[in-house]
Symmetry: C2
Subunit: 186 residues, 2 copies
Amino acid sequence: MNKKEQIFKAALSLFSENGFHGTPTSKIAKLAGVANGTLFHHFTSKEQLINDLYLELKKELVEVSFLDLNDKNNLEVNLKQIWLSNINWALENKAKVIFLQQFLNSPYLTEDTKKEVDTLAMTYYQMMERALKENKIKKIPFDLIYVQATQQMYGVINFLLEMEDFNNKNEIIDHAFDMFWNGIKT
Amino acid sequence: MNKKEQIFKAALSLFSENGFHGTPTSKIAKLAGVANGTLFHHFTSKEQLINDLYLELKKELVEVSFLDLNDKNNLEVNLKQIWLSNINWALENKAKVIFLQQFLNSPYLTEDTKKEVDTLAMTYYQMMERALKENKIKKIPFDLIYVQATQQMYGVINFLLEMEDFNNKNEIIDHAFDMFWNGIKT
DNA sequence: ACATTTACCGACTGATTAGTCAATCTATGA
DNA sequence: TCATAGATTGACTAATCAGTCGGTAAATGT
């Protein structure tokens, strides 16, 4: 693991726990095991670090989504597959989800970062567009469906993260998916 | 307007625009037109201010929800009424929504605040509990429905706030509500 | 009228922190 | 072997900021 990755890892851990204001760059450097100056060699500012890290995690999430996807399956099966991949990733990467949620609505993300994130979402759009043409889902603007899908995903994830016993974990995930799917299917 | 309210107002405006780290208490005091020390007379710390403001806004939101509600109407009508009240409040109080979203997942909210917020949600729970008994909605844990309702509400609001033309505003709101309702109805 | 509490002021400080910089080290390639 | 570029270091600083404090003014109660 190179120094830049070490910094990413340390930053993720500290930011997700203490927030932007609560984590000085000096602590990030220390935890990463590098000198203070090294951090600013790789990132021009603290905000830059946040933005880079945010994009990195978003990319990882999109990648996870499409890993086990099969074009031949129908939309519902594919959507559920994405649903499951995302949620499992989230449960296994608590700090990453907390970070993403914490900075999603923060003023630290630049417009550039937001635009890049939108580009990443394109992949999902294409899938939905096809389904809409094939009359499988209601005539609702994609954007709206996408926003709601994301929101509901975060909803289940938060719900699961706060649950103490995990016995009916799968039941919850299924319920939540049904709620979503029944909302959009024709 | 007393000084405490002036501070709330100034804090809301600055925090929603620049975040916690981006707004020094000195600027809040200046914008509020009070002395630096006055702020710390009313709030023991900057974090306390955030927490108080957050609770205040949540209370306002719950109040708005139940303003025009009629017990005699059926669940769907009542839910839609809440839906509309919330969204309209949000569109008319942009800064407040931005603040609420920004701090919802921040590390600045104390456990106490979170608990108090949960108490506020009780009112919604009771309504849903009745509906579940009367078999009007699917057998899904309330908590999950509540989380998803909230998430979807934020979803539409964000969507609308980023829309440039407001021509089909009502259409979007209706679509979004249908998505939600179809997700939970029996 | 007096006493006591509460609101308010604003200059001040101790501590913190983002970012700099000059120097050293490492890697690559010709 | 030497030169050049990039990586790394850590001591340093200029600026900022949360919260304090001693004192005044206003409100409240008796």
